[in-house]
């Protein structure tokens, strides 16, 4: 019971703090694509992979008092930051969450900015397509983000790095 909730709390606890809903969404999506056991369903929204289920789960965890949500003012908009509470730590201590390789991947992803993670998650979303097609998709569907070919190349390299980090878990 609440295994999926525990996985999310564990992810946030491991990362320490995750700033921004977009960043949180992309981190969980990328982790899921790396075969870590996250079961939230993602769909391609107008601007990238997004999970309503994850939004609901985060909201529940905040209501339960297991996660702390702080609204921060950024330049021109608000951003939400998430961290684990003491009650969340207690809850996590009685759950069995075994994802040892997740920590290295999470800490790395949390150091990246949301814009780059959005690109990485989009590349992963189209992982059944050839690289050229993926590039074309990104230029068409994410034209407003103005990603460069170099950034797309960087995203591919980054995915390879993450896959290596995820390997000790036998996940990928």
């Amino acid at each position: 019971m609440f295994k999926d909730h525990a996985n999310i709390i564990n992810a946030i606890s491991t990362a320490g703090e995750i700033s921004g809903r977009k960043k949180l969404q992309k981190i969980v999506y990328i982790a899921k694509k790396l075969s870590f056991p996250f079961h939230e369903k993602f769909q391609f929204h107008f601007y990238g992979p997004y999970s309503e289920e994850l939004t609901l789960r985060i909201e529940e965890l905040c209501e339960m008092g297991y996660l702390n949500e702080v609204k921060e003012k950024k330049a021109g908009y608000y951003q939400y930051c998430y961290s684990i509470t003491d009650a969340g730590q207690d809850f996590l201590s009685i759950q069995e969450v075994e994802m040892p390789a997740l920590e290295a991947c999470l800490l790395d992803m949390n150091e990246q900015n949301a814009r780059f993670l959005e690109l990485v998650s989009t590349v992963l979303y189209f992982d059944t397509l050839e690289k050229e097609e993926v590039t074309e998709k990104i230029f068409t569907l994410k034209s407003k983000q103005k990603y460069t070919p170099e950034e797309i190349e960087e995203a591919y390299k980054y995915i390879d790095q993450l896959k290596t980090k995820a390997k000790p878990n036998g996940c990928f």
Partner: protein, 435 residues
């Protein structure tokens, strides 16, 4: 004549309780309707377990799919046709995507996908691009045509206007299901002036806009949607049936993994249990097949599977209590789980928290992730304004998510004092359940 432009000699019409008639002139559409993958949707109910609450809700995903097609046909043929922003070459693509958008739904989709970790959108894509009758027809239109249809449904097609007709906050999908579900459930919510909405809809490069004069029709549509979610889609009794259905599937999977010998071998489920579902396996699954197994499993030796199937088939559903997630409520839940175990009732199957949540309308905020395409109003001076900036009613509910949590349990077992009388009494006290 090219297949894509081929028309039927005479227009075909289907009688429909919502739109009166569904009109088909295109050969491609007629052929798609006749495929076995589309006909399979007759055996998938649009509203899953809702028929156990609203007995009329037996309508299928096939009738909804035809309805969405009809709405898109009216938009592109009667409203967009001849306007400079509309590309007529995208007409057939829009119609096919509308007709096929729900093709990959499985039986009782919500529970089915949750237990077996599946995604109907993935199967919709597979049916369209895989080795199917649907694919063969789409290929006759053009080599890339199946891929384009799949992209529109997956919201990854470059032409955002076409995508928005089927997936946005005011799309043909919602316009059909709100009216159809209202009709078949018999509720008085869910009605809005669709004719008016269609008349005031105008194409723009990335989405459709609504003329300012139609704002009140849009308000009505949004409020209808709000009411339908809370009065029909999230009805607590429907959710009780959904909880039991989910637990049946979990139990059957668990028993298979534990090496249990089923009296009624679940042949149709083996690939699902193993997580190796092929498209062919998936297409064989529908609600008729699933209900057949549920009936057969009423005779199984496993007490839990037998009980859950009997409950579902005979509508002996779980009762529910309000549950507001908080630290104290979670502690109470843990205490209840312990007591359930002491009473010999497996809490993994008989004590379930279910949550429903809806966001009636939202607009894009920089830095946020909701990323819903807002509804835009076209003012008389040509200016385009986001809906909630013009409508006080919509502004009042914008971005406000409403969530409901319930705790489900079998009241009949807890009231049966033939065993574990004292423990059951403690449980009833905690649940505030009368004797």
């Amino acid at each position: 004549m090219e297949y894509s432009a081929e028309k039927l000699q005479e227009e075909k019409v289907f009688k429909d309780p919502v739109h009166r008639y569904i009109h088909v002139r295109d050969r491609v559409i007629w052929d798609l309707i006749g495929t076995k993958e589309f006909q399979r949707l007759r055996r998938i109910k649009q509203l899953g377990t809702t028929y156990l609450t609203f007995h009329g809700a037996e309508h299928s995903r096939l009738s909804h799919s035809l309805g969405v097609y009809e709405i898109v046909r009216r938009i592109v043929d009667d409203v967009f046709e001849g306007r400079p922003e509309w590309k007529p070459e995208e007409r057939l693509l829009s119609l096919c995507a509308a007709l096929l958008h729900d093709l990959g739904h499985g039986p009782f989709s919500h529970s089915f996908e949750k237990v077996f970790d599946l995604d109907h959108e993935h199967f919709t894509q597979q049916i369209i691009v895989g080795d199917t009758e649907v694919n063969k027809i789409l290929l006759r239109v053009g080599r890339d045509f199946p891929k384009k249809v799949a992209e529109v449904i997956a919201k990854t097609y470059k032409g955002k206007l076409v995508v928005s007709l089927i997936s946005s906050q005011i799309d043909a999908d919602r316009m059909d299901y709100l009216q159809r579900d209202a009709y078949f459930t018999g509720v008085s919510y869910g009605h809005f002036d669709m004719e008016r909405l269609l008349r005031v809809m105008r194409p723009r490069e990335e989405h459709a806009v609504i003329k300012q004069s139609g704002m009140h029709a849009v308000e009505d549509y949004i409020m209808s949607r709000y009411q339908m979610y809370w009065q029909v889609y999230f009805h607590p009794v429907t959710r009780s049936a959904e909880v039991i259905l989910t637990k049946i599937l979990h139990r059957a999977k668990h028993l298979y993994e534990a090496g249990y010998e089923f009296a009624q071998q679940p042949h149709h489920f083996y690939s699902l249990f193993k997580g190796e579902v092929t498209l062919a396996d998936y297409l064989k699954m529908d609600e008729a097949v699933m209900l057949y197994y549920f009936e057969a499993w009423e005779e199984e030796n496993d007490a839990i599977l037998k009980d859950l199937c009997t409950r579902f088939m005979n509508r002996k559903l779980f009762k529910y209590a309000e549950f507001h997630p908080s630290n104290s409520q979670m502690n109470k839940l843990m205490e209840l789980r312990t007591l359930f175990k002491k009473a010999g009732i497996d809490p993994d199957y008989y004590l379930v928290v279910d949550s429903s949540s809806d966001l009636p309308y939202d607009f894009y905020r920089p830095g946020e992730e909701e990323e819903r395409l807002p509804i835009h109003l076209l003012k008389n001076n040509g200016e385009i304004r986001e809906l909630s900036r013009e409508s006080e009613i919509v502004d009042a509910i914008s971005g406000k998510r409403r969530t409901d949590h319930k705790l489900y349990y079998p009241a009949d077992i807890l009231r049966d004092e033939s065993t574990k009388k004292n423990i059951k009494k403690q449980i009833r006290t905690l649940l505030e359940l009368s004797d």
